[in-house]
Each structure stands twice: as structure tokens, then as C-alpha cells.
């Protein structure tokens, strides 16, 4: 497949995630949108890894593994991030009984 297709698909997914972040007020949904954005990036990474693999197959049979391993690490980080993030959201809910980020305006003061 032309790499362009993957590129645009990832971009579209990424942007959808971004729009979600911008338009929603629910912290959990925003969090999920961020996951979506990460996944869009993951997809692109895999696509590029395969692109490089195809291109440099003759030189080195294992070219492109880095990209996929990178995706793996991203997932690791994402998982850790989700656990901490959700813990924060739970705590926030416990304190202000809402997950509306509108109330998180402490930065103003």
C-alpha cells in the first residue's frame, strides 16, 4: 500500500482525537482521546517500519524492528500513564464530585 494512505489515515485519527480533546469536558473522555492519538501515532510508526523494511530489505533483513519496538514501548508508557491518570481522575472525582475539567482552573490563580 502507498505509505501516503497510512499517513493520511493516521492524521485523520490523530485529528479526531485532538478535536475530542478540544471539544469535550469530561476528563475521562479527553483521556481516551489522548489514547486514540497515541494509537494513531502507533499505526504510523508501524507503517513506516514496514516501509523501511521494504526499502532496505536487501541490505538488512531485520531493518524496521526498531519502529515496532518503539510502538511496544509506547504501549508500555501508555499503560502506565493510564493507571496514574485514572487514579488522578478518581481522586479528582472524590474531591469535587465531578470530572468536568472546567472546574480545574487553579492555574488561573
Amino acid at each position: 500500500m502507498p505509505i501516503n494512505y497510512y499517513l493520511f489515515l493516521s492524521l485523520a485519527l490523530f485529528t479526531i482525537g485532538m478535536v475530542g480533546v478540544l471539544t469535550r469536558r469530561n476528563a475521562i473522555i479527553i483521556f481516551m482521546c489522548i489514547e486514540l492519538m497515541l494509537n494513531a501515532v502507533n499505526l504510523l510508526l508501524v507503517a513506516f517500519s514496514k516501509m523501511h523494511h521494504l526499502k532496505n530489505l536487501a541490505l538488512n533483513a531485520s531493518v524496521g524492528t526498531d519502529g515496532q519496538l518503539f510502538v511496544f514501548f509506547i504501549m508500555v508508557v501508555a499503560a502506565a500513564e493510564v493507571s496514574v491518570g485514572l487514579a488522578i481522575i478518581v481522586m479528582m472525582y472524590r474531591n469535587i464530585h465531578s470530572v468536568d475539567i472546567q472546574f480545574l482552573n487553579r492555574l488561573k490563580h
Partner: protein, 629 residues
């Protein structure tokens, strides 16, 4: 060291020494010591001046170079003294009359405490020092130093009784008005430096060729403005009557005999320039005669004995400027000399009267003092006759010389000058009769106190009276005495004698007879009128106008002082804080306002931050990809 010309150094240094000793030691010295030191240095200075006068070589001036005051490249302003006929004559007048007045002061000021007594003599000595600098200076800058110095001393002495606000106001007024003139003087000096590169008097003849006629006109005009300040001419004369706030001997010394004649001296010094500037001479003549007339008219209706004398001084100075305007510098200097004698005499006499009257200065409350103050009466009479111009008293010869020069310049000037001379005789004798004639009109307490002044005061009066009689004889015209006009001849190295406009003897006799006859009749008129003065004089509108000095002070006040004052206040309380500072503060305030507005963007909402981030990313990427191509 003690021989000519080096002895001249002592002339200014001695009063300076007196100033330092009296000034620094005023708390430790006794009054007697102060008076002796103050007068002693003057006596020595007078002796030194005499030595200079007698040893003066004929011909060119003798220059004494002390050190370089300012020397930058080609520009050289030495601290130098110039000894010649003109300056040596002035030296004699200043130190001589100065000495007499110091002696007089030692008695007149005796009621002051020792500390203030010392202060008084220190100021007086400092004044003499400055005046000597002015006269001896070999260039305009040194002259200017003395010029400002005498202004300073005048300021200090007018405000000598500093507890009275009116006196210190008068002192300020005198200084500031003098400063106006000084500014013009300074600009004239700059002009001279710019065109000729030198300010020395000895370079003037050579410099004349490098000056264009407009340059000369400007320079002479500016110098003349400077002279109007110091010599109390229109428009800068109003300070002089106010300056009578100072002690009377000060008025005699500074505001009659010496300082106020500095303007005449300066112009006589620069006579080469003035001769080359006919326009300026005309202006000077007009200003001089106008001042003389104006001041004389005011003097008629003044009742303060010192104010009358003050206006008379302004008027006499006007005469001197008239002489200068007519090109008769010698006559002007002659009148300076005789005027110094009789005006000092009159002021000191008035001081003696005031002394006797326990400080009373209003002539309406005097009268009949003839019997109690015989010496004062007699000497005062001599002074009055001298100023009125009756032969053979000194005033006659000098005034006659001026009238003659005015006649040669223009008959109209002569007419006005003659009229002014008659006014002079009138107001002087009005004052004389009011003071000494008739019966005493003061309080009983004053009457009880009346006494003739001590010898230290009457002796100077007598000396001056003698001088007032004979002082004019050095300038007896050729008409009466062959080989007369010795003064003009003596001054000829400095002031070239202009030949060629002699008039016939008969005309000259006629003019003299006319003026003498008219003066005598005016005196008679004054005698009939004021012999038995009793009550207020009529207050016709014109008389009130004169009494109020033509409202010139009020005019200055409303036209110049008040607006400036108000403008300054407006600047201070409105323009500065609101406009200038307001602009600066406005910058600060607008920045604060903008920050306030921008602060609202910081809603604290993470969502908004994210939005801004995205928008910024879009913008940056757009620039990155599409603009920078």
C-alpha cells in the same frame, strides 16, 4: 613691590583682605577694630590709588598680568589689570568716597551688634573689591566678574536687614534685574569672542576692523542693555528705588556714587565701538533723556527722603547716558565724578537726618531741622545747589557740559534736558525746604531725640561738601579759563577728543545764562511754595500718577512677573504631573491595561490552553510550510 605699577595689585587686594578679616573674625573682633580694619584698608587702597594716579605714564595703558584666567588654544583671557587715565580716575573716586563712607558707617551703624557690624563692613569691603575689579579689569571678562560681584554685594547689602521680608524682596529684585542686563552683557562678550577672538580692551582698536557694522551695532546694543541693568535705565530701573532698603551709607556708596555708574564706565571703556555705532548712540541718547525725565517727574511727588534721592540718581544717570548718546564720553565721566561727590554727600546728609529723626524717612514729618542739625543743613544745602547746577558748584560744570553736548546733538534733546534739569532743581529744593525749612512736624518723642550727628559722620559730610564745591573745577570749560577742561585732556588717551563742533562763545554764554537763570527762578518758586509746608498736597490725577511712579512696577508685575509665576505654577501642578509624567505613566498604565486584558486569556481552563496550543501549532506549521518558501 611698593612702586608703580606693582602697587596696583594692592588696590583690590587690600579690601579683599579687609573682607576676609572682618568676615571671618566678626565674632571675635570688637566694633572698634572692625571699623578700623574696614576703613584702614580703604585708606591704604586710596593711598595706593593716588600713587598709581600720580605715576601714570602718559600715552598707552599699563597692563598688569596676574595669571591666565582662561586659556584655551588661541583664546586667552588673562586675569589682568589695566591702568590708564579712566581707570585711575575711577580708582580714586571709588577708594576715596569709599573711605569716607566707611568712616561715616562706623558711626552710622554703631547700634548694630558686633557680629552684624562685622558682617556689614565685610560686605562693604567686598563691594569695594568687586568694584575695583570691575574698574581695573583689562578685559570684558574680568570686568564682568567685578560687574556681577558688585551686583552680589548690592544684593547682600540691600538685604542687610534680612528679617524684613520687603527688604529681602528688594534685594532679590535688584539682583534679578541686574541679571537681565548681565545676560545681554554676556552675549555681547560671546559675540566679541566669536568675531575677534579676544576680549581685551587693548585689542579693541585692532579688532574694530574685523567687525562688520551690524556686528558693532549688535554688540554695542547688548552692552548697553547690560548697562541699563546696572545703571538703572529704562526699562530696568525699578530696582534702584527699591534698593533704598539697604542702610543709607550703602545707598550713598553703591546706589549713588559708584556701582550704578559702572554702566557709564563700561561704555566709556568701549567708546571706540560706540563711536562706530551711531544707531546705538541715538538709542542711548533717547533712553537716557527719557529715563532722566521719567525719574525726575516721579521724584517730584515722592515723600521718602531716600526715594527722592534714588529717583534723582536715576535721573542723573539718565543725564550721563544722554551725554554718551551725544558722543560726549568725557562729559559723562565728568558728571560721574561730580555726581559721586554731591550725591554721596546728599545721601550721607539724608542719613544724618534719618539718624537724627530716629529712623524716620518721610519728609512730611520733618521740617525746621536747620537749627538742630547745622552741619548737616549746611552741607546738604551745598549738595542741593551742586545738583541743581549753579555756578561755580561742581554740578554746574558737568551738567553744562552735558547740556552743551545735547544741544549739539539736537535742540530737542537740549530742550528736554533743560526741562529735566529744572525739575531736578525743583524736587531737590522741595525736599530741602520740607526737611530743613519751616517748623518741625514730627512727634514730640522724635523732637526730643533730635541731635547733630557725631564727628565721624559730619567729617565725611564736610569733606564731600568741599569736593562738591570745587570738584567741578577740573573741568572748567575753555570759555572761562584758558587751559581748562583738564579732565577731558587727562582722559584723552582713553577717550579721544573729538574736535570740530565748537560753537560760538556767545551761544555758549547764552545757554549757560539761560539754564542758570531758569534754575534760580525754579528754586525761588520752590521756596515760595514749600517754605511753610503744612498739609497734604493736592491729589490731582496726574499727581497721583507721579506718586505711584507711573505704575511701572505694577505694569511689570502684571505683564511679566505674574504671568511667569502663574505659568510656572501651571507647569508644576498641571503640565508636569499630568502631561509629561502622565505620558510616561500612560505608557506604564497602558501596558498594565493590556496585561489585564491579556490575563483574561489565561482562563485557567486546560481546555483553552490546549486550544491555543493547537491554534499555535497550526500557525507555526503554516508559517513553516507555506510562508518560508
Amino acid at each position: 613691590m611698593f612702586s608703580f605699577p606693582n602697587i596696583a595689585y594692592f588696590i583690590p587686594l587690600l579690601p579683599l583682605l579687609g573682607f576676609l578679616v572682618n568676615g571671618l573674625g566678626r565674632k571675635h573682633l570688637s566694633k572698634g577694630a572692625i571699623a578700623w580694619i574696614g576703613s584702614g584698608v580703604l585708606a591704604l587702597a586710596f593711598a595706593a590709588s593716588l600713587v598709581v594716579f600720580l605715576n601714570l605714564p602718559s600715552g598707552g595703558p599699563t597692563l598688569l598680568n596676574a595669571f591666565d584666567f582662561i586659556r584655551i588654544g588661541e583664546l586667552r583671557i588673562p586675569f589682568a589689570f589695566q591702568l590708564d587715565a579712566l581707570s585711575s580716575l575711577f580708582l580714586l573716586i571709588i577708594t576715596g568716597i569709599g573711605f569716607l563712607i566707611h568712616v561715616y558707617s562706623s558711626a552710622y551703624m554703631h547700634e548694630e551688634s558686633a557680629e552684624h557690624y562685622g558682617r556689614y563692613f565685610a560686605y562693604l569691603n567686598l563691594f569695594i573689591f568687586s568694584m575695583l575689579l570691575l574698574v581695573m579689569g583689562a578685559n570684558y571678562v574680568i570686568m564682568f566678574i567685578g560687574w556681577e560681584g558688585v551686583g552680589l554685594c548690592s544684593y547682600l547689602l540691600i538685604g542687610y536687614w534680612f528679617r524684613k521680608p520687603a527688604y529681602t524682596q528688594a534685594a532679590n529684585k535688584a539682583f534679578v534685574m541686574n541679571r537681565v542686563g548681565d545676560l545681554a552683557f554676556l552675549i555681547a562678550i560671546f559675540w566679541l569672542i566669536a568675531r575677534t577672538g579676544s576680549v581685551n580692551f587693548v585689542d579693541l582698536p585692532a579688532a574694530l576692523s574685523s567687525l562688520s557694522s551690524s556686528d558693532i551695532t549688535w554688540i554695542t546694543m547688548l552692552l548697553f542693555v547690560g548697562a541699563t541693568g546696572k545703571s538703572a535705565q529704562i526699562p530696568l530701573y525699578t530696582w534702584l528705588p527699591d534698593a533704598m532698603a539697604g542702610p543709607t551709607p550703602v545707598s550713598a556708596l553703591i546706589h549713588a556714587a559708584t556701582m550704578v555708574t559702572a554702566g557709564i564706565y563700561m561704555i566709556a571703556r568701549s567708546n571706540l565701538l560706540y563711536t562706530a555705532a551711531p544707531l546705538t548712540l541715538n538709542v542711548i541718547a533717547v533712553i537716557g533723556i527719557a529715563t532722566a525725565l521719567l525719574a525726575a517727574s516721579i521724584a517730584i511727588r515722592q515723600n521718602d527722603i531716600k526715594k527722592v534721592l534714588a529717583y534723582s540718581t536715576v535721573s542723573q544717570l539718565g543725564f550721563m547716558f544722554l551725554a554718551i548718546g551725544a558722543g560726549a564720553y568725557g562729559a559723562a565721566v565728568f558728571h560721574v565724578m561730580t555726581h559721586a561727590f554731591f550725591k554721596a554727600l546728599l545721601f550721607l546728609g539724608s542719613g544724618s537726618v534719618i539718624h537724627a529723626m530716629s529712623g524716620e524717612q518721610d519728609i512730611r514729618r520733618m521740617g525746621g531741622l536747620k537749627k538742630v542739625l547745622p552741619i548737616t543743613y549746611f552741607t546738604f544745602l551745598i549738595g542741593c545747589i551742586a545738583i541743581a547746577g549753579i555756578p561755580p558748584f561742581s554740578g554746574f560744570f558737568s551738567k553744562d557740559a552735558i547740556l552743551l553736548s545735547a544741544f549739539l546733538k539736537s535742540p530737542i534733546l537740549y530742550g528736554v534736558a533743560l526741562f529735566t534739569a529744572l525739575l531736578t532743581a525743583f524736587y531737590m529744593f522741595r525736599m530741602f525746604f520740607l526737611t530743613f525749612g519751616g517748623t518741625f512736624r514730627g512727634t514730640d518723642e522724635q523732637k526730643h531725640h533730635l541731635h547733630e550727628s557725631p564727628l565721624a559722620m559730619t567729617l565725611p559730610l564736610m569733606v564731600l561738601a568741599v569736593l562738591s564745591v570745587i570738584g567741578g573745577w577740573v573741568g572748567i570749560p575753555e570759555l572761562f579759563l584758558h587751559g581748562g577742561e583738564r579732565l577731558i585732556e587727562f582722559l584723552s588717551p582713553v577717550i579721544p577728543v573729538v574736535e570740530g563742533h565748537a560753537i560760538s562763545h556767545s551761544t555758549e554764554y547764552l545757554l549757560m545764562g539761560l539754564s542758570t537763570g531758569l534754575v534760580l527762578s525754579v528754586i525761588f518758586f520752590a521756596w515760595t511754595r514749600y517754605r511753610q509746608y503744612r498739609s497734604e498736597e493736592s491729589s490731582a490725577p496726574f499727581a497721583r500718577l507721579l506718586e505711584n511712579k507711573w505704575y511701572v512696577d505694577e505694569l511689570y508685575q502684571t505683564a511679566i512677573v505674574q504671568p511667569l509665576h502663574r505659568f510656572g505654577g501651571w507647569l508644576r501642578s498641571f503640565f508636569e504631573p499630568k502631561i509629561v509624567d502622565g505620558l510616561i505613566q500612560g505608557v506604564g498604565r497602558s501596558i498594565r491595561y493590556i496585561s489585564q486584558q491579556i490575563r483574561l486569556l489565561q482562563s485557567g481552563q486546560t481546555g483553552n490552553y490546549a486550544l491555543w496550543m493547537v491554534i499555535s501549532i497550526v500557525v507555526i506549521l503554516s508559517i513553516q510550510f507555506f510562508v518560508r518558501k
